[in-house]
Amino acid sequence: MAADVAAGTRSAAAARLVAARRLVYLYFRCLGQQMKAIMAYEANFIVLMFSAVLVQLAGLAFIWAIFQRIPDVNGWTFWQVVMMSALIFVTEGVGSLFFEGTWRLSYLVYTGQFDQMLVRPISPIVQVLAGAVGFNGLGNIVTGFVLIGIAMANVPVQWTPGRVLMLVILLVSAATIRVAINLASAASTFWIRSPWSMVPMFVHQLGDFAKYPITIYSVAVQALIVVAVPFAFVSFFPTAFVFGVEAWSLAGLLTPLVAIYAVVMAVWIFRVGLNRYESSGH
């Protein structure tokens, strides 16, 4: 009897694993199709990529100029702030390279093309995420990683294997939070029906706040980017943790939990929104 139950849960777990593997496989399968399409038809992604990089570097130049006048901002050094920006770049790049589809959701919903995703045997969320490839993200990812490397070399921190592992975990969590935020804000289109909803863009802009130490903001802004739209966990808290800034580093440990919270909320918002979907009248 007990063995039966154990076997039962084991096979249920196995089934779930198979299902998850299938989803990941199909996700990359769909994404691969998009990639082929872009390779075939779109040559201007290099331009897009470089313009994204230039915009980001201009932002950094601004930070650098500030630090020429003052030695630190609320106790944060130049390279720590660079690290925060870099995390914003990398996650933004991951968001567009692999999950650009969220940006197309409002258009699909408005035109009713989203119908198709509801009559296929795969989660519509996976289909949305895999719906497009944004090669311009490549620029952000590369810039971001280069900056992370430089910042790591310029802060007085011992790079033990444990710390490096933690950095990887934090990076993955940060990217997850970013994608979850993108998905949730894209789902706003189920409430605000318009082909080019401004909400996702607005939420995206909130990410810019998290390029700087959150201690420089009012409590209201802090609450916004820590709790409501947890961009602070994409950049600020992970930076504090890996660079061992004691006052904030413990909160950095929460990042993986915040990632789970963000995913659960995003999926929930998406599902609630989905039931409001009305297709289009033609």
């Binding site: 199909l26 399968r29 075939a40 038809y41 296929r120 045997p121 795969i122 519509p124 009305e278 297709s279």
Partner: protein, 345 residues
Amino acid sequence: MPLIEARGLTKKFRQAVKEPGLVGSLKHFFTRQYKDKLAVDHIDLSVEAGESVAYLGPNGAGKSTTIKMLTGILVPTSGSLVVDGLVPYERRQQNARKIGVVFGQRTQLWWDIPVVESFNLARDMYEIPPRRYKENLGQFTEMLGLAEFMNIPAGKISLGQRMRADLCMALLHDPKLLYLDEPTIGLDIAVKDRIRKFIRSRVEERGTTVMLTTHDLGDIEDICKRIVIIDNGKIIHDGDLAKLKDTYARDRVIHFQLARPPESIEPICAELPACELATDGLRLSVRFDRFVFAAGEIAAAVMSHVEVVDFRIDEPEVEALIRKVYLGQLSLDSPSQPAPAVVEA
């Protein structure tokens, strides 16, 4: 247990009350006026496995909305709906494995990649066993003539080719149920024919249940035995095609070709009360109620007065008939002849 069972199925949309143009948009922005539109209004529908149903109605009647609820795309405002033991909008993915969907105005194919790659993607999504896939793809390619554009991206093939490819893709996983929303819209006769033949073969060989909305009555006569008519969100007729003809297509017309122009048609009129006669040179036509006269009686009466060279009988036109139903010229609840299969009137 029917395959599709809908009771009191209703969908209400909230539509913006908006005047045209920029001024209208601005006004709407401030007034925020909406009105409710009952697109589907308490319909009851049950479809048995293996049936093929034509779902007709004028533009805006609620056909597509019904299909979208049946396929799980839309959540009904009220009413109950079970399709093969599942509530479609609660179990979308399970439902999706059992159905094939083709919307005439949209495509399921990936726009930028060769058609065959869309099929391969469908194979992976639906986990179609390789042998089955190969068999089906081979058979469908042959029947629908897909070979010539198999390697061209969907965005670069013609509408007729796209429709055929869409149909193939919708059926690769052998769905129990096939929903077609205006599948032949805008296609030429040859393509229409091919598509109809293909659908019929699915119905006959696999017992696929088909629900089809259309404006094209050729689709109905070729594929469907049962006709459901919806108007203004309400079902106004549900019954088989033959019965619809029997019940409502009472008028027939016989056209005679005469040897000589008739001197007068008065005597024939006298013999055939309540019939409409018309002459034009050597032609004479008689419109009659086939429940009052047999065609033979009409012919005999005419021939007893004039010399007839040739004649032919017009079959009742389904098209004209259904148009009359739409226009409300046929009252479906009070025919004097065989009891009609009327659900609501």
